[in-house]
Amino acid sequence: MWTHFHHEADIGIRGIGRTREEAFEEAAVALTAVITDPESVACTTRILLDCEDPDPELLLVDWLNALVFEMATRRMLFSRFHVEIDGARLHATACGEPVVVDRHQPAAEVKGATYTALALHEIQPGTWHAQCVVDV
């Protein structure tokens, strides 16, 4: 599950999951939803991503920024994610397809994930929130 939360100029994204990994995956869906309807993005091409940071919150920002970079340089959108976290290391797959403007109607390019409203916590046993504001 994911949501967007209010920010005056940009957009707050929040992933909600049973585990930290699932919250990271859902935050990635929320990132895609800033640009287009994630349901409109088919899974035809799978890529691998690796990030590393000992600070779990900075690791979340690194993960989102790695996706921003891949979207920009591959001209792709992603809709399905699988994240594994081992200590400071994140290993993930992202699945998506090249941008098709007519079908995806991409609204706004995400420039990067910020440290504003950055938070990663288990708000109750079995419910993790992973969130930050992204610059659009």
């Binding site: 209010h6 005056e8 957009i11 403007v101 991409p106 706004a108 420039k111 910020t114 610059d135």
Partner: protein, 476 residues
């Protein structure tokens, strides 16, 4: 924002008194209605910027200030390197050197009426816009280095403009001190195919009509007449700037303890100007400024090609090109002493007044043009710098209207097609690859730009010269 906790200096100036860790007060330039409409987060961000090391005089918010990341958007702050001052990636923003370039066309509104749909379609096809688009220029490593060093001057050398263009760009189109070697492989990769692209979100290219002149003498100095057709280009340093902003925000967070900086919040990540991190960021940021200037120069060239085909009598010459996400080294007089300051303007426009030595000769008596962007259906404005603004705001003014509504709410409120049809009925042609993007950028999602500009004028930050009404808007 609750005004009861602010000290009212005048009808257009409000002070957050220095307290706690604040080294200087906060100053907000706006009328009561605009201040009341500002988010409390603006106060919080202005206050936190006032706590950064080496800040000089005050932490400022312009009339269009709104909640940003780190610094507010519409935030201005100057730092003294000799007093331990810092440079902040969040104080510049991800879209480094995003700005507005305005061009004369030598045409009047009646001249384009019969061909405005053709112009809209031709511009939309000639200028890559939106996500997934790319330009026809592909830079190799040597070309990338030359662009990052040369800015708009590099673009002119490549044949995309004239030497006369450079005289009407801040710093003559090239920022000194760029360090291409400080720009990462990733940032270069993001930019390789993006030269001459407009981007998305609130970026645009517009044909506009001068529909009001407030200061005839200055308008004449700027070459503006009632009914003139003007072209405005709003975009920045594209993927390269975004990547530099992303990378240095993290570097500055990690390095802050090493430099003895206790960040009140990670989003205020910064580094001493006189540090390796600070100097590397400044070198990369200046390279990104040159990228933005080159980008707007290439888009100008593409626009000229379209006009040469459809309206060959048009003569597209620059009015000015101003950036509104920057950190620039400037001399300012503080308590009677000239000081060398690093002035951050994030969503704020430099507004040098008459007599400033850095202005081109054409603007020495009038002050520089201050270009204020609107949204698709609303006006843009051209103001002029005031000499007195140096004392008020380090010669800074607002940059636009600022959002009044989140993107998500705008998308739920309007449909893109409705917005396009309504604006067409008002005589405004929209071309965009994204219906959702148009809905999110609907004019109703923005604050009243006229009120923001009135506040800037009455506060003395800059003076109103002319208002521009959109005729064609190419939206990313």
């Amino acid at each position: 924002m609750d005004t009861s906790t602010l000290t009212r200096i005048s009808d257009f100036e409000w002070r957050i008194e220095a307290q706690g860790d604040m080294h200087v007060p906060g100053i907000i330039f706006a009328d009561a209605a605009l201040v009341q409409a500002m988010d409390e987060k603006v106060r919080e961000q202005v206050t936190r910027v006032a706590c950064l090391p080496g800040i000089v005089r005050a932490s400022y918010a312009m009339p269009d200030a709104h909640w940003g990341y780190g610094f507010p958007i519409g935030g201005v702050a100057a730092f003294d390197a000799d007093a331990g001052g810092v440079v902040s990636g969040g104080g510049v923003g991800f879209d480094i050197s995003c700005g507005v370039r305005a061009l004369h066309t030598g045409l009047q509104r009646a001249d384009i009426e019969a061909v405005k749909v053709r112009l809209a379609d031709a511009l939309y096809h000639a200028i890559p816009v939106g996500i997934g688009s790319h330009g026809s220029i592909h830079l190799d490593e040597a070309g990338m280095d030359a662009m990052l060093t040369g800015g708009a001057g590099w673009a002119v050398e490549c044949g995309w403009g004239t030497a006369a263009d450079l005289l009407r760009i801040e710093e003559q189109g090239c920022t000194a001190g760029a360090r291409p070697e400080a720009v990462s492989v990733q940032a270069r990769k993001r930019q390789r195919d993006e030269m001459g692209t407009l981007g998305s979100g609130n970026h645009y290219l517009e044909l506009q009509e001068v529909d009001a002149i407030y200061d005839p003498d200055t308008a004449a100095a700027f070459g503006l007449r009632q009914g003139d057709v003007i072209i405005s280009i709003h975009c920045g340093s594209r993927g390269l700037g975004h990547q530099i902003g992303t990378e240095f925000l993290k570097t500055m967070v990690i390095d802050a303890p090493r430099y003895g900086i206790a960040l009140p919040d990670r989003e205020l990540a910064c580094a001493p100007i006189q540090s390796e991190t600070g100097q590397t960021y400044l070198g990369a940021m200046r390279a990104a400024i040159n990228c933005a200037l080159a980008n707007r120069q290439i888009i100008t060239h593409l626009t000229r090609l379209v006009f040469a085909d459809i309206l060959p009598q048009a003569d597209l010459t620059l009015i000015y090109d101003v950036s509104h996400n920057t950190c620039k080294v400037e001399n300012h007089v503080i308590d009677g002493r000239a000081r060398h300051l690093y002035v951050h303007r994030k969503g704020a426009t430099r507004a040098f007044g008459p007599g400033h030595p850095d202005l081109p000769a054409a603007f020495r008596t009038s002050g520089q043009p201050v270009l204020i962007g609107g949204s698709m259906g609303t006006a843009s404005h051209i103001l002029a710098g005031n000499a007195g603004a140096e004392r008020l705001s380090f010669s800074s003014a607002c940059h636009g209207a600022g959002r009044a509504m989140s993107r998500r709410r705008a998308y739920k409120t309007w449909k893109g097609r409705q917005v396009t049809d309504r604006l067409f009925a008002e005589g405004i042609i929209i071309r965009s690859p994204s219906s959702r993007g148009v809905a999110e950028e609907a004019p109703g999602a923005y604050k009243d730009v006229d009120a923001v500009v009135d506040a800037a004028h009455r506060a003395g930050l800059a003076r109103k010269v002319a208002r521009l009404k959109p005729v064609v808007c190419i939206k990313g």
